[in-house]
């Protein structure tokens, strides 16, 4: 099955990171995350979650976790900063 992120990684020949996480920021309003390993912080200003080999921190205003599944999540709000640590 065709996967957008897999195709990008294949083209860029970064096969070693193909099983890590993916983040998509849509217009600074929606952040779609694939491959998260669990939330570590939830607040209106900051949402943090674990990923493979690290942690991702999302900062902004009036952040809402609109969907949370086993390995995906969607954040809605004014996203100011996304940082992988």
């Amino acid at each position: 099955m065709f996967n957008f992120f897999s195709e990008i990684k294949k083209c860029l020949k970064y096969k070693s990171i193909s099983d890590s996480y993916n983040l998509i920021n849509i217009s600074g309003t929606i952040l779609y995350v694939e491959g998260h390993l669990g939330l570590t912080l939830i607040s209106k200003e900051k949402i943090c979650f674990k990923v493979k080999n690290g942690r991702v921190s999302v900062e902004g205003e009036n952040l809402n976790l609109v969907e949370l599944a086993d390995d995906t999540l969607k954040i809605f709000g004014k996203i100011k900063k996304t940082e992988a640590v």
Binding site: L39, N64, V66, E67
Partner: protein, 376 residues
């Protein structure tokens, strides 16, 4: 943002370390619109079908559930159905009643005696088909029942509510057609005084002496071919019956009485063993004996009892009583004996007394002539 699902359930919870809770929960169900109001206070949604599962999970983890709200089209529909359930139920009930009221539910048969309900009902059922009242042709059922049972003289079908009533009348069979009849039998000895034959064959005539058990009228008539045609015997037969009462008188009477002399013997027993005896010589010519036992102890270890035997001397006195002196009394006694045999409504026509004497004995016979009637 457009929701993926329309029917969901919102939980309001209070607990610490909610990140771990949502991580664990998200492994089992998808969580929507997670809104953390405070550090220990959150709202989140799950699909309506996952509600019970999530609620159970939260309770197992001792999470304080503040509220659960259901929403969505399906939920609204269910709520409305529940809200209007009674009205809907009544409406459905009324509709069901109206529909089923159009059908026959019960068949009753009235007026039958010899033909069973079941037989008539089976014929009716075969002609009802669906049971829908408007399709029932009562005339057709009436004809079917009437034709099926020849012994019916009248059939009427009517419908009351959901009951179909079959009203029938059976033909009345005259007694003459029924066949088995018993003859008229004399119940007393007597002499026939009057006979009025209505039906049957007469076996006696006026002035004839009859005996109890004798056939008076036979249950048939002879037709022109000499054949016996069974009929119910009917006749009014009047006859005189002689009823006899007797009394006997003996001129010499022997009266036995106790003289007052007694002799008493005592014996003491232990069980069946006699241990003491006081025996006297009985010189009485005629006597009667009385025996009595009395327990001397009140235990079963030594059951002593006293047996007392008393002899009473008897004597005989002969007295003479002339018949003439008590004649009226004896005749009255004989009359009473005769009248006791008479039934309440018997008409007494004549009374006769006959006295016969043989030695000391006098026999008084009181005969009452009574008029009786059979039939009529």
């Amino acid at each position: 943002m457009k929701k993926e699902i329309k029917n969901f359930c919102q939980f309001e919870i209070k607990s610490l370390n909610q990140e771990n809770l949502f991580n664990e929960l998200s492994k089992k169900v998808k969580i929507y619109d997670l809104d953390r109001k405070e550090k220990d206070h959150s709202f989140f949604k799950v699909k309506l079908i996952e509600m019970k599962r999530v609620e159970k999970e939260l309770k197992e983890k001792n999470i304080n559930i503040i509220s659960i709200k259901k929403s969505g089209i399906f939920n609204s529909l269910i709520t409305k159905i529940m809200s209007y359930g009674l009205i809907v139920g009544l409406l459905f009930g009324f509709i069901f009643f109206m529909i089923q009221a159009q059908f026959i539910r019960k068949i009753e048969v009235w007026g039958n005696d010899r033909i069973s309900d079941y037989d008539i009902t089976e014929v009716v059922k075969k002609n009802i088909y669906s049971g829908y009242k408007k399709n029932i042709d009562t005339k057709k059922i009436e004809n079917a029942v009437y034709n099926k049972f020849q012994s019916l003289s009248f059939v009427s079908i009517s419908i009351y509510g959901q009951t179909l009533i079959v009203n029938v009348k059976e033909e009345i069979i005259p007694d003459e057609m029924k066949g088995n009849f018993d003859p008229i039998i004399a119940t007393y000895d007597g002499i026939i005084t009057n006979v009025e034959l209505i039906q049957g064959t007469l076996c006696v005539k006026e002035g004839e002496i009859i005996q109890a058990g004798q056939t008076l009228v036979k249950p048939y008539i002879l037709n022109s071919n000499g054949e016996e045609m069974p009929v119910k015997p009917l006749a009014k037969i009047e006859f005189d019956v002689w009823i006899n009462g007797e009394a006997i008188h003996n001129s010499f009477k022997q009266e036995i009485f106790k003289t007052g002399n007694t002799l008493t013997q005592n014996e003491i027993y232990v069980g069946n063993l006699k241990v003491y005896e006081k025996k006297l010589t009985n010189n009485f010519k005629d006597y009667v004996v009385e025996e009595a036992n009395e327990n001397l102890t009140k235990n079963n270890i030594l059951p002593f009892f006293l047996k007392t035997t008393t002899y009473y001397e008897l004597s005989t006195k002969t007295t003479q009583e002339k018949f003439e002196d008590v004649k009226d009394e004896i005749i009255l006694k004989a009359k009473e004996n005769a009248l006791q045999k008479i039934e309440e409504y018997d008409i007494i026509k004549e009374e006769n007394v006959t006295i016969k004497q043989a030695g000391n004995l006098s026999f008084v016979s009181y005969v009452v002539t009574v008029s009786k009637t059979i039939g009529g």
